[in-house]
């Protein structure tokens, strides 16, 4: 079935608790450049939402509009029932962790964490107690008097997190919090952030260009491209039922080819092949469509033979990826990738039978 034609069910059905943050038709221009075009979304209390997209897609712009660092040009942002659209950052209620962490290099870990704990509400003893609490929370109790330069990247990132959480903000904003770290630390830390967020129940918005990161930790993912929101949904929904061609191509791996709706209902014609595809039933004959298929959905060998519309393809290249092998195929001008168990890999240059299961084809009419 096609996600592109029906309303993506995953997005609508996602667990939607009482909205804590409402972004309504928010646009942002820098001069004549529209960085953000009428973005609307809601974030439930205690929810973890990621903004995902390539660089320049407007995800950081949207985050900074929510923080008030670069206020929106038009639209409305409501946090916890309060319209915050035009408020300066200092009048809002959020904590933020930047990509660079922006730790104050001349203050030690404790002083950094205590930076926002000032004024009458935070007498010395209460402040010290809170700092100790936070240090324990992020597991840095023994590093309290060190300076940021003396810490590892992961430790710095935890200090930044503790500092952002010190005032118990209602909203935690994370701007590419993990991209400055190496791969192993990233994986570990993202699970830690998620666990911490669950424990504290703080509503969290994270910006990232790493889809694995977004999929791994988020309740819902907001996929953005060129200043627009493409899709909002659970990680599974945006992977299985991408709402647009962009999402299908950007999230996860997929092979892409152009096709035309055939005269026979429910059939697709591509590069000389005729493929069954019930999702095209509602489309007019001759409609140009972009078609995507994920490598794990492509069937080879006997499995393929059992499906209608199977065809012969030549193996051009095999990539070993550990648990699976990714096989590159060519059938005429059609190029495909298929995931195969390492024990079943066909030889390079050999011909194999291939098929594209009709319910796994993702088709999107091209706007002409």
């Amino acid at each position: 079935m096609s996600a592109g034609l029906a309303e993506a069910p995953g997005a609508a059905l996602a667990a939607a608790p009482a909205p804590y943050l409402v972004v309504d038709q928010v646009s942002k221009s820098f001069g004549t450049f529209r960085a953000l075009e009428r973005a609307s979304l809601t974030v439930g209390a205690g929810e973890f939402v990621s903004f995902l997209g390539p660089s320049g897609c407007g995800k950081t712009t949207l985050l900074r509009a929510i923080a008030g660092l670069d206020p929106a040009t038009s639209g409305r942002i409501v946090q916890d029932g309060r319209d915050i659209t035009g408020l300066p950052p200092s009048a809002r209620d959020f904590g933020i962790v930047f990509q660079s962490y922006a730790l104050f290099p001349n203050l030690n870990v404790s002083e950094n964490i205590a930076y926002g704990l000032r004024g009458k509400a935070w007498p010395r003893s209460r402040r010290q107690q809170r700092v100790a609490e936070l240090l324990t929370l992020v597991g840095l109790a023994d590093q309290a008097t060190k300076y940021p330069a003396q810490l590892s990247g992961g430790q710095q990132q935890r200090v930044a997190l503790a500092r952002a959480l010190a005032n118990e903000p209602g909203l935690l904003l994370l701007d590419e919090p993990l991209s400055a770290l190496d791969a192993i630390v990233r994986l570990h830390l993202r699970q830690e952030i998620r666990a911490l967020q669950r424990r504290l129940g703080v509503t969290t918005v994270m910006v990232t260009h790493d889809q694995e990161e977004a999929m791994g930790v988020s309740d819902r993912v907001v996929v953005m491209s060129r200043g627009r929101i493409e899709q909002i949904g659970t990680p599974e929904a945006i992977y299985r039922h991408p709402a647009t061609a962009f999402v299908a191509g950007f999230v996860g791996r997929s092979s892409h080819f152009d096709a035309v709706v055939d005269a026979t209902p429910g059939m697709l014609r591509a590069e000389g092949l005729v493929l069954p595809c019930p999702a095209t039933r509602g489309l007019l004959f001759g409609t140009q469509v972009s078609t995507y298929i994920r490598p794990e959905d492509v069937r080879l060998g006997p499995q393929a033979q059992a499906l209608p519309g199977h065809f012969v393809a030549q193996v051009t290249h095999v990539e070993f990826l550990g648990p699976i092998c990714r096989v590159s195929l060519e059938a005429g001008r059609l190029r495909l990738e298929a995931d195969v168990h390492p024990s079943l890999v066909p030889a390079v240059g050999s011909d194999v039978m291939a098929a594209l299961p009709e319910d796994r084809l993702l088709v999107f009419p091209q706007d002409v």
Partner: protein, 562 residues
């Protein structure tokens, strides 16, 4: 959801408005101390002595006066000649400091800076001791006179050397070792590597250094005044027109002419600066020279030669100031330091200078650093920011003499409500701050730009006012740069002659002006003694900065250690 896209009305918090107000204040100071005086100067060039608009009549008169034309030509060719001598010398010296393995680099670097700390008059006085009418080495000139172009160029070479060497040392120190390795692997010879890797990197440094030297020579007043004899140049012409002939309008015209090479140089330097961007990526591997005798020995010889000359000139000035009657009675004496005998201001001139320099350093640093922070972080953007940023870059193109002239024309105007400042210490302090504003501003802005751009945003998210972040984070981190700015201001205000020669009052004569006056009165030894005293003060301040550097480091920069 409505389809209406209502524009957002952004609330500006009180704090932000106060910060904007601070920027407005900085603009006011710069308007008062730079834009309005220069505007007055411009107007006066088109007026006659009675204040009537006469169009280009003054300029026509200027071009029609052969002596003035000759002065312009003299300024140009002495500046060009100085540049041709200084830049290769400075390049060799800087190359030795950055790209060789000679011993004693620290000492050479310190000696190189010596002329910066002395008033430009000092080398001129020392040259007169050596080659003047009673000069010890006069025979070496074979009957030629040092008073004139020879003396001017020789003294300018000494005075301009450190400025060129500093720029070139910076340009040469930013070398990427990987480029050299790549060239070597591709079997390029030494000469080819020098021509294809070293020179291109230093190219804009060379442009900058040439521009700076040329401008310094054209606009310097002290050296031609002391050693120029009857040789007219633009800078002494302005002085003659204003102080000698009281012809302010012609003075303004000459001032504008003097502004031309400076503005041209300024634009050329801006252009070179723009071209330079991206020559060194953040991932560059620093170049570390390996010892090689064939290169190191000649460079060491060059450094020794230059350093000897620099120390020698200063040494001669000091010696001359301590001698009873040069060159006939060389018994040492401190009589020349009894300034009250030679000049009405006496020792008080030195204290006046120290007070002006201190005030300009303290107020100037506070003004410049705060303004730079407001521009970069506190209250960035907007037309106001653009205006302040633009004006902050101007003083670099305005020679001290022109600024000084603009000041008298502006503050002396009967209708000016700020006229009361004329002849006070305050006007000298304001002049000093504005005169050296650009370099101080660039130093401050560079230091601030190295800080994480999100510091203020983090502060705001934690509800900490930007001013608190400024005080707790920005200032402590930038303290070394702030000290640099203050010492730079102090040293330059202490040694400058050109900007203050028109501005002092009977009770506010600075030491550098006293040097000129004593030299004019034929008291060369006393003039040298005063110049040496100024050098002693600036050297002490510089040494104090170096000595306190360790303490400041320990107190505020502990976090830099890993």
């Amino acid at each position: 959801m409505s389809d209406l896209a209502l524009p957002v009305r952004v609330q500006v918090p009180l704090e932000q408005r106060l910060l904007r107000l601070g920027l407005l204040l900085a603009l006011a100071v710069l308007l008062l101390g730079l834009v309005l005086p220069l505007g007055t100067l411009l107007l006066r060039a088109f007026e006659d002595a009675d204040g009537h608009f006469v169009g280009l009549a003054n300029f026509v008169a200027y071009v029609a006066t052969p002596s003035l034309r000759i002065a312009a030509w003299n300024s140009l060719w002495t500046a060009a000649l100085t540049t041709i001598i200084v830049v290769p010398l400075a390049f060799g010296f800087a190359y030795a400091l950055t790209r060789s393995c000679i011993p004693g680099k620290g000492i050479f670097r310190a000696v190189m800076l010596l002329p910066v700390l002395a008033p430009s008059l000092l080398p001129a006085l020392a040259l007169i001791y050596l080659f003047g009418n009673q000069g010890m080495l006069r025979v070496l000139l074979f009957g030629e006179s040092i008073y004139g172009p020879a003396g001017i160029v020789a003294a300018q070479v000494f005075y301009c050397f450190p400025h060129a060497a500093l720029i070139l040392a910076v340009a040469l120190s930013t070398a990427d070792a990987r480029l050299y390795e790549a060239a070597e692997v591709l079997k390029a010879g030494r000469a080819r590597i020098f021509a294809t890797v070293t020179l291109p990197v230093a190219r804009y440094g060379l442009v900058s250094a040439s521009v700076v030297v040329f401008t310094l020579v054209v606009t310097d007043f002290g050296i031609p005044k002391v050693i120029g004899g009857q040789f007219p140049v633009l800078a002494t012409d302005v002085y003659k027109q204003v102080v000698g002939l009281q012809n302010f309008n012609m003075g303004a015209v000459v001032g504008l002419v003097l502004l031309l090479p400076a503005i041209g140089a300024f634009l050329l330097d801006r252009w070179a600066d723009g071209q330079r961007a991206g020559t060194l990526s953040g991932r560059a591997v620093p170049y570390v020279p390996k010892p090689r005798r064939a290169r190191d020995l000649p460079l060491l010889a060059l450094c020794l030669l230059v350093s000897t000359a620099l120390v020698g000139i200063v040494g001669v000035a000091i010696w001359g100031s301590l001698v009873t009657f040069w060159p006939y009675n060389l018994t040492l004496t401190l009589n020349n330091y009894d300034f009250d005998r030679f000049d009405t201001a006496g020792w008080s001139a030195l204290w006046t200078s120290v007070r002006i320099a201190l005030a300009a350093a303290v107020c100037g640093t506070a003004l410049v650093f705060t303004t730079a922070w407001l521009l970069e972080r506190g209250a960035p953007g907007g037309k106001l920011g653009h205006a302040v940023r633009f004006i902050a870059g101007l003083p670099l193109a305005v020679p001290g003499l022109v600024l000084g002239l603009a000041f008298i024309l502006f503050f002396n105007h009967p209708a000016n409500p700020f006229g009361f400042l004329y002849g006070t210490l305050a006007i000298l302090v304001l002049n000093g701050m504005v005169h050296f504003y650009t370099v101080m501003h660039l130093t401050a802005a560079t230091a601030i730009r190295q800080l994480d751009p999100e510091f203020e945003a983090v502060g705001a998210s934690l509800k900490v006012p930007a001013v608190v972040t400024f005080g707790r984070v920005t200032v402590p981190i930038c303290l070394p740069a702030i000290l640099d700015i203050a010492v730079y201001a102090f040293v330059n205000v202490m040694t400058t002659v050109s900007a203050v020669i028109f501005l002092y009052g009977p009770d506010t004569k600075p030491a550098s002006v006293a040097v000129v006056h004593m030299d004019e009165a034929g008291q060369a030894s006393a003039a040298a003694a005063m110049a040496v005293t100024i050098l002693a003060v600036t050297c002490s301040v510089k040494l104090l900065q170096l000595a306190s550097g360790g303490l400041v480091e320990r107190l505020t920069q502990r976090w830099r250690r890993r």
